[in-house]
Symmetry: C2
Subunit: 323 residues, 2 copies
């Protein structure tokens, strides 16, 4: 098998120069670069990437930790992160944490061992946040790790305000909000806070239900119990489109008509939102921008640049047929 020495010899230059070309370091003339590539091709020389990583201490791999990549929101987000990472020469290791702290820790350990250059963390348990420090290249998604780790989120409070106001403006008299898990302190809880603030201010009765993250089967059960306890609910703000879709499914079985008997607003605007019947009114998160921004910040940290600790991206209301 050809070595770097063979390439240098054939190209008529030093090993150091070949190494510079391979690592894209220092000034190299186009002529030299061409000579090296021609020699590499002729000798069918494959630079050993692992050895090169060892030298550079860079793997050009980033880790993306999500609760579950089969959840459409995280699937779309991962898709965009991978798209932009590839453009910057990075590969993406995807980890489903299922909110399991061992898997999260395992990835942080990989980071400390230089196997990944940085992590985008869309999942975190309380335990994990204890040993993440702000000197590691980590960007959190929708998570306030409260120890200086930069995070990217969307304007959750405003989203909650728009959704709740719309339901009241459309004539709803008794509202329900189905939130995510509230025991974890996340920016997404501001949707819940905004719902309470608006309903209280506008003097509309309401109830709150908490959904477990990503357990689709549990959403329907939750909807049944909500309707059996409060049959007079006529407006629901769901904290994700997946929850909203489950509710629509249940209302259909119960013979309730959407939006006549019950109005529903979702959150996220995943592709599904416009595909279901009736098409879902929802708060659109800029999923592509969230992915792109997280990656941009992560690469800035990796390159040692200063970054914003907090990035809050705008949301918008998309009215379809459920309100």
């Amino acid at each position: 098998m050809a070595t770097i020495k063979d390439v240098a010899k054939l190209a008529g230059i030093t090993v150091t120069t070949v190494s510079r070309v391979l690592n894209n370091r220092g000034y190299i003339s186009d002529a030299t670069r061409k000579k090296v590539h021609a020699a590499m091709e002729e000798l069918n020389y494959q630079p050993n990437e692992i050895a090169r990583s060892l030298h550079r201490r860079k793997s050009n791999i980033i880790g993306v930790i999500v609760p579950n990549v089969s959840h459409p929101f995280f699937a779309e987000l991962t898709n965009y992160i991978e798209y932009y990472a590839y453009e910057e020469g990075y590969k993406v290791l995807v980890c489903n944490s299922y909110q399991n702290s061992d898997k999260e820790k395992d990835y942080v350990a990989m980071l400390k061992r230089n196997q990944v250059d940085g992590i985008i963390m869309g999942s975190h348990t309380v335990e994990t946040s204890d040993y993440i420090t702000s000197d590691l290249p980590i960007v959190a998604l929708d998570r306030n790790l409260s120890n200086g780790v930069p995070y990217v989120t969307s304007d959750n409070y405003n989203g909650g305000v728009l959704a709740t106001n719309l339901l009241i403006d459309k004539g709803c008299k008794k509202l329900a909000h189905i939130s995510g898990p509230l025991e974890i302190n996340t920016p997404a809880n501001k949707r819940y806070q905004a719902f309470i603030d608006v309903a209280t201010e506008r003097n509309v009765e309401y109830v709150i239900k908490q959904a477990k993250l990503d357990i689709f089967e549990s959403y329907e059960k939750l909807a049944y119990s909500l309707f059996s306890e409060h049959s007079d609910i006529d407006g629901i703000f769901a904290s994700s489109d997946m929850i909203a879709a489950s509710i629509i499914h249940v209302t259909n079985k119960l013979g309730k008509e959407v939006p006549k008997d019950l109005k529903i607003v979702g959150y996220d605007d995943i592709s599904l939102a416009s595909m279901i019947v009736p098409p879902l009114t929802t708060i659109k998160q800029p999923i592509e921008e969230i992915g792109k921004m997280s990656l941009k910040i992560l690469l800035e940290i990796i390159d040692g640049k200063p970054v914003n600790t907090e990035s809050i991206l705008p949301i918008s209301l998309v009215e379809r047929k459920t309100t």
Copy 2:
């Protein structure tokens, strides 16, 4: 920083033995293992994984190439592959190929440079198949690379038979099949073949439309053109649930009633299938089993074991409310 020599010295054993513990190689007593771990902990020794990979020529990373991880079928599949890979000590690099042969080639090149130990390929262009040889650890999903590369698929022909028979049994007089791209030779084309065979045998009129892969926006356009050309179609077999969901969406806009005016059978049984209104009748692919089996075969190839070239997993008909 502590080195492997420091660990050996503190544990009172040889460097070779420490290395054996780290690499899980050869017989090591529990007492020795404990001594090594205690010394590592005391010295805060972090074995350099990249250096170890270089030594072992293994990265314990596998690549998974899919057309688009935000497509629910591939999102669910990737989720299962990652789940089982993690259990076997492997991490998963996810690549969205968007059917782009450069990205596919890039991953195969990584494999040749030992950056990944193997690849599960759920996407392939004609070009790529030219330079994939059967001596590389590659498993293809739903793809017949026709050069000895093992592949995993489900019983597509039988799926097509069940779907088409159901539509005819339910009284449909004019059928349509919306297939995936037929110019690529994939086992999924057998759904199309089965549709034609059954419709012909049972003497029922039919039309065929081809959908582009993964371009959800194009599905609705296709549905509109189908109904404008053939307003009398009363039964559709769609080659994916995403296509079926788009059709339901369009029929709703056109004022057609499902299943009264039009019966629809999808394919895949992604989570969405039971969540949409009306819940979709579909051919269930065993997505978890497909992911698990692909991984199992890939690890067998990596370990130098002989494997089945063709694995065809069973499908089943799930009748819901669209037929």
